[in-house]
Each structure stands twice: as structure tokens, then as C-alpha cells.
Symmetry: C2
């Protein structure tokens, strides 16, 4: 590394971002489509897509040449259009979705080949972060802990008894001495246990106890550390990854991915690895995190007028409150006497629903799929 | 008249339809536009435009050559496209709207020139009729009374204390013997008085009394009779019509219309003539009349599913009740958990409102006009 590189990347030249961007985001229909899913949409309140925001936020730590995006083959071109600065070989295209463990494993194998000492920062492509400085502080801290060999997750201080997230219980403080946490980060701790989506009563108990955090789905680990753990806990996956390494060595990785990937175990990295591994740590964070899970979240994040409406330029609003409206530029949206609605218009589809029904968009998508209206999906 | 003519037109060969079709129908925005107003839209529940339905309903009585349509110059081509069977000279184009008295007067003068014994049936282009046989019966009866020289209106038995309509009070029975009324028609009566749109309390009193009918805005009179009354009660208008007659005699009517029309008194035929004339009669009718005044009426008239939704083919409806949705063919409209909404989508505008706010569409149109968005009007 030259002095210039050291200046540019600080001491973080070993950090590789792995952005998981294969989701379809059916909950944002009709704006999200198979060919233009959630992560490519500007759902975080501004003009920027969620995917672009994900890489921009860590740009101080990770330049494009150390950012990998894992997505589906169908989304390769759209992803590169959205991130033209990304080297094309940094887009890993899954021939078929097999949940997150194969995705993370493949990315770890790829990083290990390019940088044996590399540290992965596994990020979702569809999160929104309110306090970006606080977030970066937590990321830096998590990578620091990961350099010691632990598998590290980031836990979010819960603000409500959410039943849609996984939780993790805080264990003892880490024995290793680490730098003092910044304002958005707590001291790193062991993870006592992971809990899948709880029911309402348990979620309320978790929040009350102060000992539970939301599992953010961000993970930090050395490539060699996570590959070693995969060999122990997901040997089939590890074997598949070895086959990819061998193929890559003779320039035939793409063909091998097509052959091997569909048979890899379809399990999440949480369940398949994090819950089983011994050396698992959590860095608590509190930086305005949102998983942008539905149109409700999109409304919460959007810029709104004094009456709570997030509507396109030129909208005509008469006695309208707390609505989210989306339409192409130049189309007039007129809302009269309605409140709390989500109105999303595209060229070939229109959705109208109360915000609290946002989860039921999937019912619409299912109905369209059932009738074979693939052009609307 | 030949025997063939008599067979073809029955004894009604003197009846001329005059269809007033100049309205803009801003209450049906965004579907109705300046260049494509209410009367050209299929708002009566089927595929047929309100204008076309108006002429079809009386086709047994009035062939296209005796149908005049009065509209604006801007709508001439659209009107002829909608009614290709109409002789082009039967479309009278007002250079500027001057309310209904000049419109009726010009039509009466036109009929008088072509058929001195002609009887006018003045009809609105934007009404819906549920019982078309009953309607025709009333029309026949009204023309019969009109042949005796009276100015005749059709009064609708009120079904609710509507404050948006004019009312008329029934007077004594007509002294002339007329054929027995059919099932949809009551015996012709004098009109005791006309009452402009009443307040709620008066409207309730009117309905309770049984002596008041809604003024339907349909009028029947001999051309010579109405022209004579205009000379008495609207002499300025009568003078203008004489000027048009003189110009027409030398083939220069269009130029004279352009010159004279803007200065004619802008008054309604109700206020300017019917309320003042001595020999005014009413034929009561009860034939499922609706003035198709708003999106609320359009929902009432539309074909609906079991849950009360009138939605385009292919709509996805989840827990949706009593909604009216309109969109171009092929566009998917998804309504989730909403009820009583009006959702009208066009290529360049989208309206969402509760049905009971239908009157407030004009506020949207006013807002667009105020900001100079003429392409949306």
C-alpha cells in the first residue's frame, strides 16, 4: 500500500463491503417490480436509491473496488447501471436465490481470494440510516472487533415492540480492550442468544428488559474466520465454496456457480451460522436505523408538508393529511378529503390503500401472480 | 309528408330534438376535460356516451335529420365524431356560452326556418334515464301538450330533499283534454311557480308536501310559441335572433352568430322565460331520472360487484367496498382496505377522494386553473 492509499483508506484498507441486493421487495409494488426491485428505488426520502445510499454511506471506508454486490443474474445490468463506478467483476450474480448463507459464503470466498486478510462488512441493500456519522462509527467499531476473529453483528436499540424483526440478547462484555465507543455505539458484547421474530407479548418484554436488541442483519467478520466457521457448521456450503475456488483458479467460476449454487443449502446466515458459532459479538448501535420494510416506512422517511403529506410536485391537496402519493413526474395527483392513504401510481398499475394495510400489498402481488399477470410483477 | 314519412315518423314528424351539449362538466375531472367534456363520456353505467344515449333514447321519435345539437365551437369536431349520423349543419356552435336562453332561442329560430310548425324537445346532453319506455311516454305527452301552444316542462317526482335542483309547484289541471297518461307520466298541470335551489328545510317541506317536482331542465314548445314569448320577455334576445334569420337568408349566419352571440343576454331559459310566461305547463314524470351531476352519481349508475365496487376489468380488490375506480384498459387498479372512494386515473392526472366529497372536484379544477395548468383542464 502506498502512502497515498493509506491516506485515502486510512487503516481500513482491509474492509470489503458485501451488499446483499437480491431481494424482490414485493411489498413496494407497484413501484418495485421483478426487474426494478426495492433496492433500486429511492425509498429513503430523497432521490437516491437505497442501493446507492448503502455504498455512499461507507464510501469513506470502502472504495468501489472493495465493494461487492450480490444480486440475481436478472438484475446484473440494472445494478451496474445504478452503480457505474463498480468494477463489473464485483457484481456477484446468483443463478437462483438460496437465502443469505450461500450469498455471504460466496462473497467471503471471493474476498479471501483477492485479499486473504480481508474483513467483510455484510450490509443489506435496503436499509435507511438517519444518523450516518453514528452509523460509520458503529461500522468502524464492528470491523475492529471482527479483526480479532469474532463474528460480529450490529444490534439496534429497539424503539417499539416490533414483531417483524429478530432479536438478540446481550451477553457479557467482550474481554478484549477496544477503543472507546463513539456517541452512536455501545461497548461490544457477547451475544447470549438469538431469538427469531417474537410474538407481541415477548417483544414487549424484550423491549422492557433493556437486554435485547434488534438484529440488524449487518455482519462483520474476517473472510478466513467466517469460512472456518462455515466449514464447521455448514460443511455442504463450505464444500460448494471450495469447488468455486477451484473453478475460479482456472477461470471457470461462472459455469461452476451455475452448476453448484442451486444445490447449496438454502439457509440464512443468522440461523445457519451466527446462532451456532462460538465467538459471536454484537456492537450496539443507535443511528436511526430502518429496514424500509413497507410503504408505511417509506412515508415515515419521506419529506412531508405541514399536513403530513408526501406527494409529488404539482399535487393538488384539499383537506388531505398524512398521505403518501407517488406518480411519475408531470402527472397531477389530486387528493381530496383523504388521510393516511398510500397512493402509488405507475404507467401500468395503481395502488390505493390505508397506510396500516401496507403489509397486504403482498396479497395483491399474489393475486397477480395467480392470474399469470407476470408483466405486472 | 308522404305516406312513407308518416309511417316512419308516426304522428311525431314535427318534433325536433334540441340537445344542449355545451357544458364542460368540470365535476368529472380528470376524465372530463375542456376538449372531452362530460357529455362525451360513458358515465351512465355502460359504454355509451351520455350524448349518444340522449339521441338514441328518442330515436323512435326523432331521426338524426331533426336533431340539433348546440355546443361550443371547440367541441364541433368531437361532437360530430361521436354522432357521425348527424348532418353537420345540425350542430350549432356557440362562439361563447351565454347560458341556456340564447341557446334555446337560436335553436327555435333554426327549427322555425326549416319547419314552421316544428315542436322543440329541448334536452340536456348529460342526463341518465333508468326507464326509457316511461321516458318516451312522457316525452310524447309533453310534445302533445306543447302542440296546443303551451311552454311545457317535465317535472320529476322528487325522491330526496335535494338542494341542488330547482323545484316547481304543481298548479291546476290543464283544461285541455289530452290522451290518458302512460304509467310513467302524470296528467299535465299548470305550473303554479318555479323555485330556485331551496335550502335543506324548504326542500324537505317540498318533498313532504307532494305538490313539488324537480325541474328536469327538459322543455317542449312549438318553435313559433317560444319565439313569440321571447319577443315579450327577452326582446333583446328576440332582436338578435331576427338578425340571425336575416343573415341566414343570405347564407351569412355563421358570421352573424360570431358578431351577435356575445352580446345576447346571458340568462337561463328557466329564469328568463319559463318563470315569466303565462301559458306554462308541466308533465310529471317518474322514469329513473338522474342528472349525472358528480362522481357520486356515476358510482350509483355504474355496474357494481357484490361488494359495491365499480372497478375496471382486471382490478385487484382486497377488503374493498363501495368504491368507484376508473383507469385506462390494461392498467391494474389495486384497492386494499378502502371503501367509498372515488379513484379516477388518466394518463396525466389521478384523483382520489371519498365519494361524499365529489362536489369538491371543482376545487381541484380551480387550483389547476389558478396555477395555469391548462393542459390538465
Amino acid at each position: 500500500m502506498t502512502d497515498d492509499d493509506a491516506t485515502r483508506h486510512g487503516t481500513d484498507g482491509d474492509v470489503w463491503a458485501v451488499v446483499m441486493a437480491g431481494g424482490q421487495g414485493t411489498r413496494f409494488w407497484p413501484l418495485s417490480r421483478a426487474a426494478h426491485p426495492k433496492q433500486l428505488l429511492p425509498l429513503g426520502g430523497g432521490e437516491e436509491s437505497l442501493l446507492r445510499a448503502t455504498l455512499r454511506r461507507i464510501a469513506d471506508l470502502v472504495p468501489p473496488e472493495r465493494a461487492l454486490v450480490v444480486t440475481s443474474a436478472a438484475l446484473r445490468e440494472a445494478t451496474l447501471r445504478e452503480l457505474p463506478e463498480l468494477p463489473p467483476e464485483n457484481v456477484l450474480c446468483e443463478p437462483v436465490g438460496r437465502n443469505t448463507a450461500p450469498c455471504v459464503g460466496w462473497a467471503a470466498a471471493t474476498v479471501a481470494r483477492r485479499d486473504p486478510h480481508g474483513v467483510l462488512a455484510v450490509l443489506a441493500a435496503d436499509h435507511h440510516i438517519g444518523d450516518e456519522a453514528g452509523y460509520l462509527d458503529v461500522v468502524r467499531r464492528a470491523t475492529e472487533v471482527a479483526r480479532g476473529g469474532a463474528l460480529v453483528t450490529v444490534g439496534i436499540r429497539p424503539t417499539r415492540p416490533e414483531t417483524g424483526y429478530g432479536y438478540l440478547e446481550l451477553g457479557e462484555a467482550l474481554p478484549i480492550a477496544a477503543s472507546a465507543p463513539g456517541p452512536g455505539a455501545g461497548a461490544a458484547r457477547r451475544v447470549a442468544r438469538f431469538v427469531e421474530k417474537p410474538d407481541r407479548a415477548r417483544a414487549e418484554e424484550f423491549v422492557r428488559s433493556g437486554r435485547f436488541l434488534w438484529n440488524s442483519g449487518m455482519f462483520f467478520f474476517r473472510a478466513d474466520a467466517v469460512l472456518a466457521e462455515l466449514r464447521t457448521h455448514l460443511p455442504e456450503l463450505a464444500a460448494g465454496l471450495r469447488a468455486l475456488d477451484a473453478a475460479a483458479a482456472c477461470g471457470r467460476e461462472a459455469e461452476e456457480v451455475a452448476r453448484v449454487y442451486p444445490s447449496l443449502p438454502a439457509v440464512s446466515i443468522d440461523v445457519g451460522l451466527m446462532e451456532k458459532a462460538a465467538d459471536v459479538a454484537v456492537v450496539p448501535g443507535d443511528f436511526g436505523w430502518s429496514d424500509v420494510g413497507s410503504w408505511t416506512t417509506a412515508w415515515e422517511l419521506a419529506a412531508k408538508d405541514a399536513a403530513g403529506n408526501a406527494a409529488p410536485e404539482g399535487a393538488v391537496l384539499v383537506d388531505a393529511r398524512d398521505n403518501l402519493a407517488r406518480a411519475r413526474a408531470g402527472k397531477v395527483v389530486a387528493l381530496v378529503g383523504v388521510s393516511g392513504l398510500v397512493v402509488v401510481d405507475t404507467d401500468d398499475a395503481l395502488l390505493v390503500m390505508p397506510r396500516e394495510r401496507a403489509q397486504d400489498v403482498r396479497l395483491v402481488v399474489e393475486a397477480l401472480r395467480a392470474r399469470g399477470a407476470t408483466d405486472k410483477l
